[in-house]
């Protein structure tokens, strides 16, 4: 995990400048760590999927180091971590899957 990104709390408070609204969907171990399954956030334009996860993880010790081990789905389609989010997007954080048997 890169330590260069300044942590910025993903809260409902609008950051300075242009902001977008994103619905964050959380599952399994990530939902448990955060204590929520869904969170509405406002983040600056240009925020990436990974960047949003890192903001979330900054406040949750159990998520430290997890950014390289989760996948992302934007509006129910898998996307690369560096995908830039748009206003109104739904971003699902997908921990390693373990369905089947």
């Amino acid at each position: 995990m890169s330590g260069s990104r300044a942590p910025q709390a993903a809260t409902d408070a609008a950051p300075a400048g242009a902001a977008i609204r994103v619905s964050l969907l959380l599952f399994a171990s990530v939902a448990e760590a955060v204590g929520e399954r869904r969170r509405e956030v406002r983040v600056p334009e240009g925020t990436t999927a990974r960047g949003l996860f890192e903001q979330l993880a900054a406040d949750v010790p159990a998520l430290a180091g997890r950014a390289d081990h989760v996948s992302f789905a934007r509006n129910q389609q898998f996307v690369p971590p560096d995908t830039v989010l748009a206003d109104g997007d739904e971003l699902a954080v997908i921990p390693p899957v373990s369905g089947g048997a």
């Binding site: 599952f27 921990p95 899957v97 048997a101």
Partner: protein
């Protein structure tokens, strides 16, 4: 093709009956069963959680890929979510094809691919705790 996520016990016989048709010379099924241990550590129950709309979409995608790759007549995939007890089926796959080779290969492909791409997660409960299973490498 019939794809389903269910909170109720899977009726495997119903899946098998649906793919048992005169044109199908081979029917192959896979039943994933809740095992009573993980590497010797007793497991008391499991819980499966799914991102349901996307899991359905991914299961359909896998089914379509199998149909494109092999000569199949019927593909049925049903995955359970929620709490499961030891011995219950977590997933049942039934594939019907004119010939057995295609049925075997497609069934194997579907379960192997499902385990790596479909947003479903398993939590194992032990006597003294529980853990989400998160494979760190494919396979």
């Amino acid at each position: 093709m019939n794809i389903k996520l269910t909170h109720e016990p899977i009726d495997a016989d119903a899946l098998i009956q649906r793919v048992t048709r005169p044109g199908n010379g081979g029917i192959c099924t896979f039943h994933g069963i809740v095992r009573d241990n993980m590497d010797g550590r007793p497991v008391v129950k499991l819980e499966y959680e799914a991102f349901e709309p996307m899991a359905l979409q991914e299961l359909e995608h896998i089914g379509r890929q199998a149909e494109e790759r092999w000569d199949l007549s019927d593909v049925e995939i049903e995955h359970r979510v929620g709490e499961l007890q030891i011995g219950e089926a977590s997933v049942v796959i039934a594939v019907g094809a004119p010939h057995r080779a295609e049925a075997f290969e497609a069934c194997r492909y579907i379960i192997d691919t499902l385990k790596t791409t479909v947003p479903i997660w398993k939590k194992e409960f032990y006597r003294d705790g529980a853990v989400w299973i998160e494979p760190t490498a494919a396979g």
